[in-house]
């Protein structure tokens, strides 16, 4: 089953909810570090969860360019499409 970007985005937002306080609104342009307060350690743990949720390998090196929720969803989409 092909997973499209919007599906990935909504599943990712659902996951990010668990990492942030309930009143935070998560949108594609939300900044992971500054707005969701996902520090370096939390981000590393989030990556493991994402790997399991989407059944992919996300090398930590790829995170260098990830700043927003959109960047992360895009990365997942990219890895997933390359695999299929």
């Amino acid at each position: 089953m092909a997973t499209d970007y919007s599906d990935i985005l909504s599943r990712l937002c659902f996951h990010l909810k668990q990492f942030s306080s309930p009143d935070v609104v998560i949108a594609p342009e939300t900044d992971l570090i500054n707005e969701l307060a996902i520090d370096s350690v939390k981000l590393l743990n989030l990556v493991m969860e994402i790997e399991d949720e989407f059944d992919i390998s996300v090398p930590l090196n790829a995170l260098a360019d990830v700043q927003t929720v959109h960047d992360l969803a895009n990365l997942i989409h990219h890895i997933k499409s390359a695999k299929q």
């Binding site: 350690v41 939390k42 590393l44 493991m48 790997e51 399991d52 059944d55 390998s57 930590l60 090196n61």
Partner: protein, 395 residues
């Protein structure tokens, strides 16, 4: 933000967390009395946060060897192992490490940090994968970065989680380096080596085990977890440090793969740094002999470790999952950890304070490191202080 502004932000964050006038990190030690005692300011303190597991820093054999090497060969080698820094002592220690592990060959590095950097970046490169435990030491993370390989983490000591990640890699598992530690520096627990070896064999990967905290501590002759479990043949590369049970400074790697020697020509952390000083090497050589014959030291170390672990456990402290010389008290907040750390220091006991982000899972740790040079009475005393602080901090 300018480069210097960034450092100001770091300073502000530290200031917000730590009380004024307290040297939590880099505490100034004025005088060292023995393997377990020193002076800080005007008070005598008990060291319970060093990695001097066998208490060999003042062993007469090591002091004598270091003095002799100093007089004979000078204060430093002033050169890389690759150039003029491979004295007879460096080469002899490499042979002695290989012999000690019954391995084909060994390499000596300037520190354990560099041993991990050198090995990981020498083995893996762009296009390869390094699969590491989530609680890995910083030297392992840094080695991965230097390598340029893809870095994947698995959940701490969870082999099913590790296997899942190898499976996802498909064919690439064959160009994957798995890295684990004999005893983990943060929580003091041991890697499930039998399971790790089984999985790495099934996926044709390569396994590097860092025995930094287990050398001298585990196994009949002190080889580490490989000896404790009888699994040395399942591990491709073993790294470790002289800076803990050997009471010196330096690092090593041993292996049965003859290719190990090639790292001398390609590994930057081996090449672009000066070799350890002659005295450092001489004391490490003397210490390795004592370590190998150190059955009695290990017995004392484990007795002390079990005694303190059991006492803290009974007091209700949340500890790492397994008794051993590294005893981590896991605290819910940095403030609590700081209070406990300060309380211990006020009672003349020095331990390590580990705050986020260095502590795993965002927790804060107050970590004790036990030595064979501690006495049972000292462990009792430490237990009593922990009991008293438990009342005042957690009432």
């Amino acid at each position: 933000m300018s480069l210097l502004d960034k450092l100001d932000a770091v300073a502000a964050a530290r200031k917000a967390l730590l009380p004024e006038g307290l040297d939590v990190f880099g505490m100034p030690i004025e005088e060292v009395y023995s393997a377990t005692e020193a002076r800080v300011g005007d008070r005598r303190i008990l060291f319970l946060g060093t990695n001097n597991y066998l208490g060999l820093t003042f062993a007469p054999e090591c002091l004598k060897a270091a003095h002799e090497a100093l007089d004979k060969e000078g204060t430093g080698t002033t050169g890389s192992r690759m150039a003029n820094g491979s004295y007879s002592g460096h080469r002899a220690l490499e042979r002695e490490f290989a012999e000690f592990y019954h391995c084909h060959s060994g390499i000596v590095f300037t520190t354990g940090y560099q041993a991990n950097l050198a090995m990981i970046s020498g083995l893996a490169g762009a296009g390869d994968v390094v699969l590491i435990d989530g609680d890995s030491h910083a030297s392992i993370y840094d080695g991965c970065r230097l390598s340029g390989a893809e870095i994947i983490r698995f959940r701490h000591n969870d082999v099913a989680d590790m296997e899942k990640r190898l499976r996802r890699l498909g064919e690439r598992s064959q160009s994957t380096l798995i890295v684990a530690e004999g005893i983990y520096s943060m929580l003091g627990d041991q890697a499930p080596l039998a399971e790790i070896v089984r999985v790495k064999n099934a996926y044709n990967s390569i396994l590097l085990l860092d025995e930094a905290h287990s050398l001298g501590v585990l196994g009949k002759t002190g080889q580490g977890l490989v000896e404790e479990t009888g699994l040395i043949d399942g591990v491709d590369f073993i790294t470790g440090t002289f800076s803990k049970s050997l009471g010196s400074i330096g690092g090593y790697c041993v292996s049965n793969h003859p290719q190990l020697d090639q790292l001398r020509y390609i590994s930057r952390p081996y090449i672009f740094t000066a070799s350890p000083s002659p005295a450092t090497i001489a004391s490490a050589r003397a210490a390795l002999k004592l370590l190998r014959d150190g059955t009695e030291l290990r017995r004392q170390l484990w007795q002390n470790s079990r005694q303190l672990y059991a006492r803290l456990d009974a007091l209700g402290y949340q500890l790492g999952p397994q008794p051993g010389p590294v005893i981590a008290n896991i605290l819910d907040s940095p403030q609590q950890a700081l209070m406990l750390w300060k309380g211990l220091l006020d009672h003349g006991i020095y331990v390590n304070l580990i705050l986020p982000p260095a502590a795993p899972e965002g927790k804060a740790l107050v970590r004790c490191s036990v030595s064979a040079a501690h006495t049972s009475e000292q462990m009792d005393h430490v237990g009593n202080v922990f009991a008293e602080l438990r009342k005042s901090i957690f009432q």
